[in-house]
Symmetry: C2
Subunit: 168 residues, 2 copies
DNA sequence: TTGGAAAGTCAACAACACTGACATAAAACT
DNA sequence: AGTTTTATGTCAGTGTTGTTGACTTTCCAA
């Protein structure tokens, strides 16, 4: 990977289209591995990735509203509603009417919802842990930096909001 | 990120569940950004991500067979066939009967297929280039290492096959 | 008290995946 | 030569996840 320092101090990267394409394919193949373990578990519960995402973000921020979840997940309310309906009917998620604002619904995991979320995230964390271990400690920071730089600004806000609350 | 060297020499990483979860969310949000630009272009052509993937891998290995594409993409032949049918009907892909083995179909991009693939991959490469630039040169190697370690072995084979042929 | 935001619902539709069954041609094997 | 396997394509049906559009109910706030 060629790079050099300008007089100003910023680094210039010279990347061939070929090297960039490798990065693109790496993202494609890696994402498949990233979702493979949870997908297998979800199949047993007759749920899909959309349910996993909802469980994840409800678990991360218990009591979050439907609207907040919508902006994180970037889907329509009709689409999210179908997913939440399943989760509520299956007794995995509880929806409580807001106390301050009774229009809002606050979402919480039930005991069995938390158990499933735990099962899913443990599997995914193990994959991530293994990848980190294999790549080595110096790789982890680079991995995170590039991913963050790849996000849309809107999404990066959601990512960093969580970061301020819980990370570092 | 805590790490230490064992007497044996391998590095041990101590990662909290929280740090791993951040990596998981980074993958989720970054993948959205990663696909956002091509998705916008594909909409104009009334095509989807599946078509993009097919165009990408046909472009990468012109003359590839349907079977080879199937194992790379990891979908059923019925699913791939629907996608290829559209691309062929739209004049973006050409399917030629094999010369050695006449059962096989070899896939090539037409002129307009190559033009679309170029448009898509340029957009995606620019996103990747921008992310690399923002993250800095030392991050790129780490990014690639972790992604590769996250792949299923089967997929890593496909990834590295291309690597041997064209990279480094 | 009225306007608008938040949430939910119904219907229709599309993309993209799946399974299962079946057809055809050609290669490979016995 | 006859059988089996491989590569591909196709038809029909199904499921998940997304979309739009229209409409209702609830209820906060100006």
């Amino acid at each position: 990977m060629a790079d050099m320092q300008t007089p100003g101090g910023q680094s210039l990267l010279f990347l061939t289209d070929e090297q960039l394409r490798k990065g693109i394919e790496a993202m494609f193949f890696a994402y498949r591995g990233f979702t493979a373990d949870p997908d297998r578990i979800l199949d047993q519960y007759r749920l899909g990735r959309a349910h996993h995402r909802a469980l994840h973000f409800i678990s991360r921020a218990p009591g979050t509203t439907v609207n907040n979840l919508l902006s994180i997940l970037g889907v329509t309310k009709q689409s999210l509603n179908r997913v939440l309906r399943t989760l509520i009917d299956d007794g995995l998620v509880e929806s409580r009417v807001g106390t301050r604002d009774k229009r809002e619904r606050h979402l919480f995991l039930t005991e069995s919802g938390a158990a499933l979320e735990q099962e899913l995230s443990t599997a995914q964390r193990e994959r991530m842990r293994q990848a980190y271990r294999e790549a080595g400690p110096e790789a982890v920071q680079g991995f995170r930096s590039v991913l963050e730089a790849m996000m849309d600004p809107e999404l990066r806000r959601h990512f960093n909001r969580a970061k301020d609350e819980r990370d570092e």
